[in-house]
Symmetry: C2
Subunit: 326 residues, 2 copies
DNA sequence: AAATTATATGAAATCGATTCCAGGAAGTAT
DNA sequence: ATACTTCCTGGAATCGATTTCATATAATTT
């Protein structure tokens, strides 16, 4: 069933049927008959033929580092709210934290598949930067920044700094479980915020310890064990993510450290899982859903105006102090 | 840059260029020159023109109830492992547990967009059943069954029954936080397994209590409070999902019930979050990643053979007893 | 040597829509 | 009455690939 069949059945030309679907000039009379035929046959225009002609896919590629992540799902939720209103469909590319997959999706999406791309990125290599800048379709970065590219990102530096200022009030010996510095947002910025707050308070560098973990509960548990085995005097632990804080919590609970009395503990993300342990874990996070919405709006702007001006939107933090900090 | 441009540059016809890409008859000589031109120009055939001609999209629609769910992400991971090998891309439709969204995606995917559909469904209304059966493209159900449709589903009934048999050894007064029975897998089957195990052991029906919660921690916490306020003598609580078990744990911890001494507690799903509380929560789950793989393979079969024989694969359960049960 | 088969190529039709163009009818301004 | 718009319509070109068909040459059988 194609447009010619409908045209024949309705006794009009294909042009007229096309106009019926695209709000072109059409008489009430023909409109009625085409409507009737379309309803009877359940005809739907082929999106592929439309795309071939119009170059519009009505598909937006969203590249995400991980499906099962609360922050990611909130961001995607926000993106979807805005884009589904405009009849866009999301083509999700899940990389499971594999940067090569990220490159693959960037290429595949760019070739032919989508009208625009939102990249919830993590690590940017030179290849990433090249592909991002060379993107033929509008691209918005979410959660990271890159000069010359539109982005919505989070003020990780000040979030970590502010949280650390709070920890300093009662802390003596500090430690941080960090993420890889290749991840600027979750790794570098949070570490720098932590460090700068401590410098500001003129904390003795000998009383600051670091361990780097991967983005998993298990990895953080092991790193926490190493940290405390070497430095049992740590009384304040800042974790770069809530998941890491859970890993740390598990280790600390297992060796009988009381939280927050002996060790105070916090994470980043304001995620649900931070509320599962008892005591609930203090965290600082961002309005991720809103970030997603903003990114989607930025993309829509770029799509309609085709404008080459790129905007960078920085999102402020939200503190959520609970009982794991003093 | 299209196929004619390449043909001109290479001094051949478009047919020959097309054959170059589709392993048709082509001389080594022309192959070499086309290869050179393609590499120089970075030309990639338009997937939309290809689809228009071949009716193959190389896209598989996967409809999921929720992005941020461990079971879902494991299943999607399994699906993706198999399908990406065959150069399929996943078009994810996230319904956020809204059944109308499910219908929408079923329609959109069916129109033109995808070669096949995997539906990780929840509630099936009459409309769902109609759309599923009328699907123009092969469709595989994952996590639920429907007569006459290919599916990979989990033996929720026996999983719940087996777990309950374990609880019976030390339990006296039983309760279950259930999911809506409209969700056959998570709601009805698990409830029936629980009930039948208790009947088998000839437990006094007066010592069995029920509360129904939505799929969220908060909802389960409230339901748990209601249950225990009315029946403080409950000493064994079966939750239909791990998330619900977390909610129950939070309430029980807040009123100072000791787990598992005063109340033993378990969930379903074998998810990471069940290991976060102390004590870790016993659970019974399924090899979700493998289920996803199987569903993908079923779909590939249907895609290649175009065979109308539908298979139903039942997946067995895996018990994970931890310290929240006696 | 003749017949058959496999390999190689280009022209043209095709997939299913949109859109440009030309032309007709109807309404309005001059 | 004439000149302009505005509205409405169908024919034909077009988007960018694949595929059928016709044809030619090379390789293999008989």
């Amino acid at each position: 069933m194609n447009i010619s069949d409908i045209a024949k059945l309705a006794g009009v030309s294909t042009s007229t049927v096309s106009r019926y679907f695209n709000n072109g000039y059409i008489s009430a009379e023909k409109k009625a008959i085409i409507k009737k035929i379309v309803e009877e046959t359940g005809y739907q225009p082929s999106t592929y033929a439309q795309t071939l002609r119009t170059k519009q896919t009505r598909l937006i590629g969203v590249i995400i580092p991980k499906l099962n992540s609360e922050t990611v799902s909130k961001m995607v939720g926000g993106i979807n709210q805005i884009l589904s209103e405009e009849d866009y469909l999301l083509l999700l590319g899940d990389t499971e934290n594999d940067e090569r997959e990220e490159l693959k999706f960037l290429q595949v999406f760019n070739q032919n598949q989508v009208d625009g791309i939102i990249l919830i990125g993590t690590i940017f290599t030179a290849k990433h930067k090249k592909l991002i800048k060379d993107s033929k379709v509008p691209l918005v970065l979410l959660g990271q920044t890159l000069p010359g590219v539109s982005s919505v990102y989070h003020d990780n530096y000040n979030a970590a700094k502010q949280m650390t200022r709070h920890l300093i009030k009662t802390g003596k010996v500090f430690a941080m479980i960090t993420a890889t510095e290749e991840d600027k947002a979750a790794g570098l910025d949070r570490k720098n915020g932590f460090l700068d707050a401590l410098r500001e308070a003129e904390i003795d560098p000998d009383k600051i310890h670091f361990g780097e973990a991967r983005f998993s509960i298990d990895s953080a548990r092991e790193v926490c064990q190493a940290l405390f085995t070497k430095n049992p005097e740590i009384d304040t632990l800042f974790c770069a993510t809530d998941n890491m804080a859970i890993g740390a919590y598990q280790y600390l609970a297992s060796i009988g450290k009381s939280i927050p009395e002996q060790v105070q503990l916090c994470g980043v993300g304001n995620s649900t899982i931070a509320n599962v342990p008892y005591p609930a874990i203090s965290s600082v996070g961002f309005p991720y859903e809103e970030s997603g919405q903003l990114a989607a709006e930025l993309l829509l702007d770029a799509l309609s105006e085709g404008d080459k001006v790129n905007k960078e939107i920085k999102i402020g933090y939200e503190m959520a102090l609970k009982d794991s900090t003093r």
